[in-house]
Symmetry: C2
DNA sequence: TTGAAAGCGCTAACAA
DNA sequence: TTGTTAGCGCTTTCAA
């Protein structure tokens, strides 16, 4: 199993030059006689030479690789990540950018304490130059661990205050304001919110933005019930809202999955959406289109955000950017049938 | 940006021993005095030492890393891979196995000629020890390229005859025969198939198996419409079948996502499933249970297959297994409500 | 059981 | 413009 290919030395011998010259040709350093360059190239194809990454990294302290990490605190990440096109959009945006920069992206999954340790190890050993981290839950300990380990990284979503790192994020409050404006423009006056735990900063911003815009529209009393980002928690929240506030005509949920749960519950109870109650979600994930009826929701420009995340990391690695720069993005209201 | 941590040398100095001894402790080689072991361990935590992967790989010719590659010949892989729970199961099965063997899996995406070259380069340079390749189309050139480059690899699905490599595969024809037998046992006689492009050998085997078993049951005329493995293509195929063959009472789709799309369409048109038309899928992915009604489907033991793929590769890397061993798996009919 | 020393294959100063 | 040389940090003989 010891694949031992030709080395620089071998190529040098064949080409009749020194190792250094071959290295220069391989790495495209100028100041090499075009004629010799040609000879060396021939020798390279002739020998079938491929650079050894380990040897290279040992001296450059670089791998040319960046990790894209999907991280969650408890459940199997794979089942979640590979069932929601949202993540496909993240991958697409990040990979496209990195490819253009000749940086090789590798994807990692961290869905247990053990897996997190392994990921931190992997990066600490220098197997990749930095990490783009997509945490599925706000309470995820991985970002903190990476900061502590001194790994260059950029996060998808604003980190907790104590974790100092670069990130990209959406103007969640603005998105929520759009949702409120849309509902009130459609004449809905008795609004409610299915929010999410305060531990997720994005969730709080969405709630606050919605309340703010409702107030501006003259709607003061807006009942709030908290869910946990899951469809099931959404349906439960909807049940409670319906029980305690029977006159509702509009609901905003802090993500699509909860909006989906709410719609399911309403449909089962014979409440028409949007006839009786209009529902607006957030994310524009696959759940939005699969919902019955398709969700009106607030869309994040995920691909752009992912590309920006990659750019921030690359700049940081090149020593151009700061280690903590961040970038904000604007959401977009997508009107479908639910509101 | 030159993260330069403590080295073996530093630890050795602190512990008052030689580099070699520290190396032995780090790598758990026996024949080290327990007392000294303790001292070294203390020195390691004290200095915050982490091994340098490049230096290590340079001498061992190993990275302890294996690549899981998703590969397709044309379209953006990410959008497809991250929308089909099937791939989540592959990832889950492979990762679980590799984690237990202390092998770090990294996932790569190869969806263009350029990306393929990069993946081959990545592996040729020794950034990972081998590859588990999941080709989305049969015409995919990547497996051939990797064989040529001498990269240890195992494929998901049987490769073309000219590509000599290890693989795992499902008896797709047998699964499709089960589907046909089930439908005809339930008294369905007017069957149709939502197939997939011939470029996917698994898809062709499923189609052939179904037609073969239908013929055996005395059902000769079976209309076939091709989808592209997505829910949306499934709903479109269903629409066409319904239009062109209004008397259908049973449909077999080459994967669950297309079956799901078909069910959605039927429901919308007020066609009862399975009352009017029975639907059978293939895969038993999470789409099967999320479908309304839950899908009767042919289950692939995907996790087992992926684990086997990982095992074959690891054995090959350890010099235990042959470079070309393969393993076949049997499908299982899972009867739910749709047929 | 431990240490000394020889590389692994490459890049990058520095000389020529 | 090219070659010489000194490491990068680690594992692994080989002696002691």
């Amino acid at each position: 199993m010891t694949r031992r290919g030709p080395t620089l030395e071998d190529v040098a011998r064949v080409a009749g030059v020194s190792r250094a010259t071959v290295s220069r040709v391989v790495n495209g350093v100028r100041n090499v006689d075009p004629h010799i360059q040609e000879t060396v190239r021939r020798a390279i194809t002739h020998t079938g030479y491929t650079p050894n990454q380990a040897a290279r990294s040992l001296v450059t302290r670089r791998t040319g690789t960046v990790a894209l990490v999907f991280s969650a605190d408890g459940d199997p990440v794979a089942a979640r990540v590979f069932a929601d096109p949202f993540f496909g959009r993240v991958v697409d945006g990040a990979l496209r950018f990195l490819h253009e920069r000749a940086v090789q992206p590798v994807m990692l999954v961290a869905d247990s304490a053990q897996a997190r340790t392994r990921v931190v190890d992997y990066l600490s050993r220098g197997a990749a130059d930095g990490a783009l981290v997509v945490p599925l839950d706000a309470a995820d300990p991985l970002p903190g661990m990476l900061v502590t380990a001194g790994i260059p990284m950029v996060l998808f979503g604003r980190p907790p205050a104590e974790v100092r790192t670069g990130f990209v994020d959406l103007d969640n409050a603005a998105g929520a304001r759009m949702a409120a404006a849309h509902l009130s423009a459609r004449g809905r006056r008795r609004l409610a919110v299915i929010a999410a735990p305060d531990s997720a900063p994005a969730a709080r911003e969405r709630l606050n933005g919605f309340l703010e815009a409702s107030a501006l529209a003259g709607i003061e009393e807006v009942p709030v019930v908290s869910g946990r980002f899951t469809a099931d928690s959404g349906r439960r929240a909807m049940a409670r809202l319906l029980r305690e506030h029977p006159g509702l005509d509009g609901v905003f949920a802090a993500n699509d999955l909860m909006a989906l749960g709410a719609c399911q519950y309403l449909r089962e109870r014979g409440v028409s959406v949007p006839g009786d109650i209009a529902v607006v979600g957030f994310d524009d994930s696959s759940a939005a289109t699969e919902c019955g009826p398709p969700l009106t929701t607030v869309r994040q420009p995920v691909e752009h955000m992912a590309a920006a995340m990659a750019r921030l990391l690359v700049e940081q690695l090149q020593g151009v950017g700061a280690t903590c720069s961040s970038e904000m993005f604007e959401p977009l209201l997508v009107v479908r049938e639910s509101a």
